[in-house]
C-alpha cells in the first residue's frame, strides 16, 4: 500500500516535471517566432487551417442558418432599397457627366491616367481576433488570384491587407492591428504620416509625420502610396483631434466588414529598372539577350 502511494507520488512528480518542461519549451518556441523567418515556416499550416475555417463557415452560411427575419422585414428592406436606388440614380447621372468631362480635360492636358486596379470580391466569413492579431478571413484565395500584399477595401475604404493566402481563403490584417503600418496623407493638406494600429477599432495613430504642418480637421486621410505597399488615394479615414493629438477616425468603423474587394498592389517601377530601349536607326528593336543568339 505504501509502495503504491510512493509510485503514484513519483508518477505525479514525473508528469508535473514534464508539464513544466513543456511550458518552457512552448515559451521558447513562442519567443523564437519573433524572428519572421522562423514564424514563416508555419505559414503553410496556418493557411491550411484558414482554408478549413473558411470552408466550414461557407458551408454553414450556405445552409441558410443565418436567414432570420420574416417577410415584413424583407418588404421594408426592398422598399428602402428602392428609395435608395432612385436617389443613387441621380448621383450616377451626375458622376457619368463628370467622368466624361474629366476624360475630356485629361485628353486636353495629355495626362497619363492611372490604371484601374483589377481585384477579387470576397466575403468575410469570420473574424479570428485574438490577443496577437486582428484579422479577418475572406473566402477567396490563391485559386481566385489573390496574392499576399493585396489591399482589402470595403465600401468605405481601406480595411487592411492580405498577409496570408490559402487555396480558397485569405487572411486580412486589419489597419487596427498593433503591427499594421500604412503610409497615409491628408487629402487636402497633403501632410504625410504613418497610420499605426493598436488604438482600438475607432481610431488609428498618425505617427512619424515628416512635416510639422497640421492636418485639416475632418479632411479625408488617404493612402500616400509610399513604399508601393498601398496604391495612392484610397480612403482610410478622417483626420480628427483626440486628446490634443491628430488621429485618424477609421473608415473601417463606418461600415460592417462583410464584403471586401482585394486589390493587387500596383508597383511603379523606377526609371533605372525600366529603361527605355533605344531604337536603332533601321527601326528594328532587338529584345535584350537576343543579340547573343
Amino acid at each position: 500500500m505504501a509502495s503504491l502511494g510512493r509510485d503514484r507520488r513519483a508518477k505525479r512528480r514525473v508528469v508535473r516535471t514534464v508539464v513544466v518542461v513543456s511550458i518552457v519549451v512552448a515559451l521558447a518556441v513562442v519567443l523564437a517566432q519573433t524572428a519572421p523567418v522562423i514564424r514563416g515556416t508555419a505559414t503553410p499550416v496556418r493557411a491550411g487551417m484558414d482554408d478549413i475555417v473558411v470552408h466550414s463557415a461557407n458551408a454553414v452560411q450556405n445552409g441558410s442558418l443565418f436567414d432570420f427575419g420574416g417577410d415584413e422585414e424583407l418588404l421594408q428592406e426592398i422598399e428602402r432599397l428602392r428609395v435608395e436606388n432612385r436617389q443613387l440614380a441621380i448621383w450616377r447621372d451626375a458622376a457619368t457627366s463628370m467622368t466624361e468631362r474629366l476624360h475630356r480635360y485629361e485628353d486636353l492636358l495629355d495626362l497619363v491616367g492611372e490604371p484601374i486596379p483589377q481585384g477579387v470580391s470576397a466575403r468575410v466569413v469570420t473574424e479570428t481576433d485574438g490577443p496577437f492579431a486582428e484579422t479577418r478571413l475572406a473566402n477567396a484565395g490563391g485559386l481566385h488570384g489573390v496574392e499576399e500584399g493585396d489591399v482589402a477595401v470595403n465600401t468605405q475604404g481601406v480595411i487592411g491587407r492580405v498577409i496570408r493566402v490559402g487555396n480558397r481563403s485569405s487572411r486580412i490584417l486589419l489597419v487596427t492591428d498593433f503591427n499594421s503600418r500604412v503610409p497615409v496623407m491628408g487629402e487636402i493638406s497633403g501632410v504625410r504620416a504613418i497610420l499605426g494600429g493598436g488604438s482600438g477599432s475607432q481610431y488609428g495613430e498618425l505617427i512619424d509625420k515628416p512635416e510639422q504642418a497640421p492636418f485639416i480637421e475632418g479632411e479625408s486621410i488617404v493612402t500616400s502610396g509610399e513604399g508601393n505597399a498601398f496604391p495612392r488615394g484610397l480612403r482610410v479615414g478622417r483626420a480628427v483631434i483626440a486628446n490634443d493629438r491628430w488621429v485618424a477616425q477609421l473608415s473601417l468603423s463606418e461600415a460592417p466588414v462583410d464584403f471586401v474587394r482585394l486589390l493587387p498592389t500596383q508597383t511603379i517601377e523606377a526609371p533605372e529598372d525600366d529603361p527605355i530601349i533605344p531604337v536603332p536607326e533601321d527601326g528594328v528593336v532587338t529584345a535584350p539577350g537576343a543579340e547573343a543568339q
Binding site: 508528469v15 512552448a26 513562442v30 463557415a57 454553414v60 481576433d129 485574438g130 484579422t135 487572411r171
Partner: protein, 175 residues
Amino acid sequence: MAFSSGKPSAWSRTGRLARIIIGAAIVLAVGYIGVIWIAPTGLIIFWPYAALWAAVGWGASRLSFRPVIVLIGLGLAMDLIVDAPLGCWSSILLLAFVISSLFRQRALTDQTGVIRFAGDATAFVVSFLFARWIMGAYLGSVETRVIIGGFLTAAILYYPLRSLFRLTSDARVDT
C-alpha cells in the same frame, strides 16, 4: 456527478479516456460555434476560451500524460485559428493545468470545497496574467481588453460545467 437512488449514473461509469474525449469534443464544439457563428456578430471577445475548462478541470483530477498531450493539441489548434505564435496557447493551458493540480491533494481532504474553488480561481487568474505577459513579451504591448472577456466568461461558466471536465468519479474533488 452525484449518485442517485443507489444506481451509478452513465457519467460516473465513464472512464478517463472517454471523459478526455468528451471534454475535448466540448471544447472543440464551443470553439467552432465561436469562430463560425459568434465571430461574425462581433461578440467574440466575450466568448469563453473553452480550452481553459479542460485545463483547469483535468488538472484538478489525477495527473497523467494523456490530458497534457490533448491540451498541447488544443493549444496548437487555438494558435492556428487566432493567428497566435505557435506554442502560446499550449503554454497557457499547461500552466492552468499545473496550477490547478497543485491544489488537488489539499482539496481532497477539504470538506468545505474552499480549496478546490481557490485552486480553480488561481488557475484562471495565473493563466490570464501569464497570457498578458506573453502578449507583452511578444508584441511589446498589452491590450487586456482583447482577452479579459474570454477569460472571465470561461471562469464564470466553468463552475456550472466543471463536472464535465473531471477525470475522476471521486466525489471529494467537488464537495
